[in-house]
């Protein structure tokens, strides 16, 4: 069963790579050579989201008290925390590795399986690391931007992390009768947590695909640099010369 799930994940990642490889557009954003395909996948994901995930997530928010949702978020955050711990180590963050290990142990035990974030109360705040960030810390560029079916924005650098973080979730190895409903609850709860962000997207974006791509890239940079991206990461804001040079803000 585990093998079949691993196979499914691998197939998904490979399929995305193949589809992406078939359809490159020459004149677009240089970091997004597969824009034509990505846009199609984006539209597919978006209609799925609007017709199924969003209504379900809104219903879930209506019927579940906030405290319960926080508990669910904490639980799945803790289940996925081994990924952060492993990547602390890969990035050579020794102190953070020890604190995050402590955090995982405390929340898994005193926090009743992760439902309560007790560790935060004793000063062990949650960190956010994954394989894509580790590659970034090691110096890898973003690679081509990708929109992954049923998933969303990613990139060649970040996509393998989807695979490894799934493997590092203890719930992945449970019987399907347990792991599938758990996965569904996680998906609905995660979608609910993003409702505010997608509202902002819907209100502000003129071209939602471009908006999401840009926001994704910046947030990844921000995370790779643990909240302190280098000055130049904010872009040179002007394509031009002459008096426009004064606009080069970072």
């Amino acid at each position: 069963m585990q093998e079949s799930r691993i196979a499914l994940l691998t197939a998904l990642v490979v399929a995305v790579g193949l589809v992406a490889g078939c359809a490159s557009t020459p004149n677009g954003d240089p970091g997004d050579p597969y824009e034509a395909t990505n846009r199609k996948v984006y539209n597919f994901n978006d209609s799925l989201d609007r017709n199924i995930m969003q209504p379900v997530a809104r219903g879930y928010v209506k019927v579940t008290p906030k405290g319960a949702r926080t508990g669910v978020t904490n639980f799945f955050g803790n289940v996925g925390y081994i990924d952060t711990v492993a990547n602390d180590l890969l990035q050579g963050k020794g102190g953070q590795f020890l604190r995050d290990t402590g955090r995982f142990v405390i929340n898994s035990s005193l926090g009743l399986g992760g439902l309560f974030d007790v560790a935060k109360e004793v000063g062990l705040k949650a960190n956010d690391e994954d394989l894509g960030q580790t590659f970034g810390v090691w110096g890898a560029g973003e690679g081509a931007y990708l929109t992954i079916p049923f998933w969303g924005p990613s990139s060649f650098r970040d996509a393998p992390g989807i695979f490894t973080s799934a493997l590092l979730r203890p719930t992945f190895y449970l019987m399907p009768i347990v792991s599938l409903p758990l996965g569904a609850v996680n998906a609905i709860n995660s979608r609910a947590n993003l409702l505010e962000a997608t509202n902002i997207r819907d209100q502000a974006a003129l071209d939602p695909y471009t908006f999401v791509r840009e926001a994704y890239r910046q947030q990844r940079e921000y995370k790779i640099h643990d909240g302190n991206p280098p000055g130049d990461g904010f872009d040179d804001y002007v394509e031009g010369e002459g008096d426009a040079a004064i606009l080069k803000i970072f």
Partner: protein, 229 residues
């Protein structure tokens, strides 16, 4: 006064040392240098703090008006919040520079009328966005965390903190416009509003043209007005 005192001490010193006038002159020189140095240092620090404080004050002024809009949201309604926020935004943001940046390389091809028209729409859009999003108060606090100088510009670091501890960091980038600090970018949790808008807007100009961008922005302003209380 201090200068005179040290000169007196220098004289004392001179008497005690007898005829060694060379040494006394040396001491005086050191004293004078020390005073000049002290004055320069004081002057520099005072200037340094002044311009950092001025930048901080601009952001805090914006935050104060946002807080007012939030606290009196229901009484003011959307149009009331707009009325409060628009003048403050016009005063604290450098919309001319922002407009140039968000239209990217296409700015150069716009004529004067198109440019000033775009700036006007953009000001309205910003006011409508803030008036729509800051539409209620549940104990949020704006914290100013610090100010840094970045290549002649200022980065004012702040955060909105909710009562449950959830926080959104807001970094403001300010540039000097004729001696006044004005905001050119807001970076929320690492996402730069300027870069986001530039990517979004230039994508629309590229595929549909500048006029379509402007009419879409007008549409957004109407949407904000329609959905907001």
């Amino acid at each position: 006064m201090r200068n005179e005192l040290s000169r007196d001490r220098g004289l004392d010193h001179h008497y005690r040392l007898g005829k060694d006038t060379k040494c006394s002159a040396h001491m005086k020189k050191i004293c004078r240098h020390a005073i000049v140095l002290a004055l320069i240092t004081y002057g520099l620090t005072a200037w340094g703090n002044d311009h950092l404080d001025a930048g901080k004050a601009v952001v805090e002024k914006l935050h104060a008006s946002l807080l007012q809009a939030m606290m009196e949201a229901d009484a003011l309604g959307f149009s009331g919040r707009l009325e409060i926020l628009e003048p403050v935004l016009s005063e604290t943001f450098d919309f001319a520079t922002i407009s140039r940046i968000v239209t990217g390389k296409y700015w150069k091809s716009l004529d004067e009328e198109e440019r000033s028209g775009f700036i006007d729409v953009f000001v309205d859009l910003s006011a409508a966005t803030y008036a729509s999003n800051f539409d209620g108060y549940s104990g949020e606090v704006f914290e100013t965390l610090g100010v840094e100088e970045r290549r002649g510009n200022l980065l004012v670091k702040t955060a909105i903190v909710k009562p449950d501890g959830e926080r959104v960091t807001l970094d403001y980038l300010l540039r000097d416009v004729d001696g006044v600090w004005r905001i050119v970018n807001v970076i929320a949790d690492g996402v730069s509003d300027l870069s986001l808008k530039r990517a979004d807007y230039t994508a629309v100009i590229k595929s549909e043209g500048f006029d379509s961008l402007v009419s879409k922005l007008h549409g957004k302003i109407e949407d904000y007005g329609a959905v907001s209380r």
